[in-house]
Symmetry: C2
Subunit: 320 residues, 2 copies
């Protein structure tokens, strides 16, 4: 497709752009038919297939002036790959829908697709299909399909006496977002953590193999997602704030913004760390940190406390 | 959820509305974990899994004043179920993402979800997951997963000498859309065909079993989609216009609007009829009509003709 560097989606046309984008998507051996037919065709072995879907809306889940197109692609993929990770599975195949204004630069769409594919390649997953259409703002719709070799780890299996453990960076992306929201670009390590989260993709399967009783990826915020486990399992959860090694850059952002650095850790949700419960400390795999305990539910139902007290900090992402 | 009848998404909140919507989605026996965890979990037998995804944008793919929320739900599901049909497979599981303005009535979202689920129930498929978020216009993202018991029928298998056949209503939805676009509501049968297409869900598998060499669902328009087969298979296709039994209401709309009634059949794409090629007339299954022939590609590449001549009517849907 010979287009000027500033070409828009309207210049390229749907089919031309789809052809260009599709070239960026390498297909794994399990993909019998990739993009281009009515549907993709995958070879699947008998077992458990996990499926999850997410929407990202410009101005709400990302801003084009806060992250490159490739960053947005990485994040869109990471967020969905992380959902499979949180079941103890491995992602194999993704679809991606892009609704966008006609004046969106073709280069943005191509860079987005490349970032998306690169993130998927980290776990060996293929982008097997998609859709492209016009809309008044950019909306990205991703569906991920994965396989579980172990029994999937749900939110509902935690029991009183279990320990709560976490794997991955937590609070960094929220710190980066706080920085960007104030018009700054540093500490750079936090801004980069927001732009390109690094979920611990090997940790979900390892946790399943180690006997994790419940697991979730932290996308609504640590306390909020601990709440999803508490509710799903009908237990209480106490988070131990002293267990977190709050990174130095978060202290710096806290000092500059007046925020408690711990609030990024307890309320932030864009790092896609994993939170899981295990029967005992001895079964917590390497790379995980024990950050709390599972208790009997309170008399007024399942609840999450921090150091034994209700948590009144930022409580996660509200969509409406 | 006790909400006033005119409650909006903003009143309901994300989690409350998701809980209400999820109640509408019955889960089949193959669904081990339905909506509510990080991912759904499906039991899958060894074989071919087909996956397809589509976006629908308000004002572009549907209008809330032209169709009820339930209609839009039916259409969104039908359009995706049809993609699996066109591979010769059966849909088993769908995810649905809804991005919508905060002032969207809760009732619209619930009616949409009910229509979506009802359409899926026609083929025994379950709605296993979804996402809900705010956007400035309604965007619906659907992914469908299905199983192929026969080898999937691609667009690429047609050979010169094959016959072209079609199954399902064709042109009715385009006629309905033409009527709605002029501010009318009749012929009602066409308007209803646009609002709730009735894809021939049993015909795809039957065609695969009968030895179809290529297949596609008509979503871009009959001539345009015949073109996708021609290109995928590197053949020519000649469509025989006399083979179509143009329905009386289409003649009425043609007379009222000055359009050639045949143009709805050749250019329309919202009925999700199936178009397939078979080795000979004898292998065309019951319920299908022979509507053309597969020829050698022309010297200037694969092309579609109508009655041996280039077709210069409406040529299908252009997204940008």
């Amino acid at each position: 497709m010979a287009l000027p560097p500033d070409a828009t989606l309207a210049d390229a046309g749907e089919f031309g752009l789809i052809a260009e984008i599709t070239k960026l998507f390498e297909q794994g051996e399990h993909v019998l038919v990739g993009p281009g037919d009515d549907a993709a065709v995958l070879r699947v072995k008998t077992g458990h297939v996990v499926v999850s879907t997410d929407l990202m809306v410009e101005g709400r889940h990302f801003r084009r002036d806060w992250a490159t197109a490739a960053d947005v692609g990485h994040r869109a993929a990471a967020q969905n790959l992380s959902d499979v990770n949180a079941m103890g599975g491995r992602a194999t195949s993704l679809t991606v829908g892009l609704a966008a204004p006609a004046d969106l630069p073709v280069q943005w769409a191509l860079d987005f697709a490349r970032g998306f594919a690169d993130e998927c390649a980290k776990v060996g997953a293929s982008v097997v299909g998609g859709d492209l259409t016009r809309a008044s703002e950019v909306v990205i719709a991703v569906t991920v399909i994965g396989a579980c070799t172990e029994a999937p780890v749900l939110r509902s299996g935690a029991a009183p006496g279990d320990v709560l453990a976490m794997c991955g960076r937590q609070g960094w992306a929220a710190g980066g977002l706080a920085v960007l929201g104030r018009g700054f670009r540093s500490p750079r390590v936090l801004v980069e953590a927001y732009r390109r989260p690094e979920p611990p993709y090997d940790a979900g399967l390892a946790a399943a193999q180690a006997g994790a009783t419940a697991m979730i990826d932290i996308s609504d915020g640590l306390v909020a997602d601990a709440g999803h486990i508490a509710e799903g399992s009908a237990v209480g959860i106490d988070v131990h704030s002293a267990a977190f090694d709050v990174a130095e850059p978060l202290h710096a952002v806290g000092a500059a913004t007046g925020a408690d650095p711990l609030s990024f850790v307890l309320g932030g949700g864009d790092d896609h760390a994993l939170l899981a419960t295990f029967p005992d400390v001895g079964s917590v795999p390497e790379g995980w940190a024990v950050v709390g305990s599972v208790t009997e539910p309170g008399t007024d139902g399942p609840r999450v406390t921090v150091d034994g007290a209700p948590y009144d900090g930022p409580s996660g992402w509200v969509h409406f």
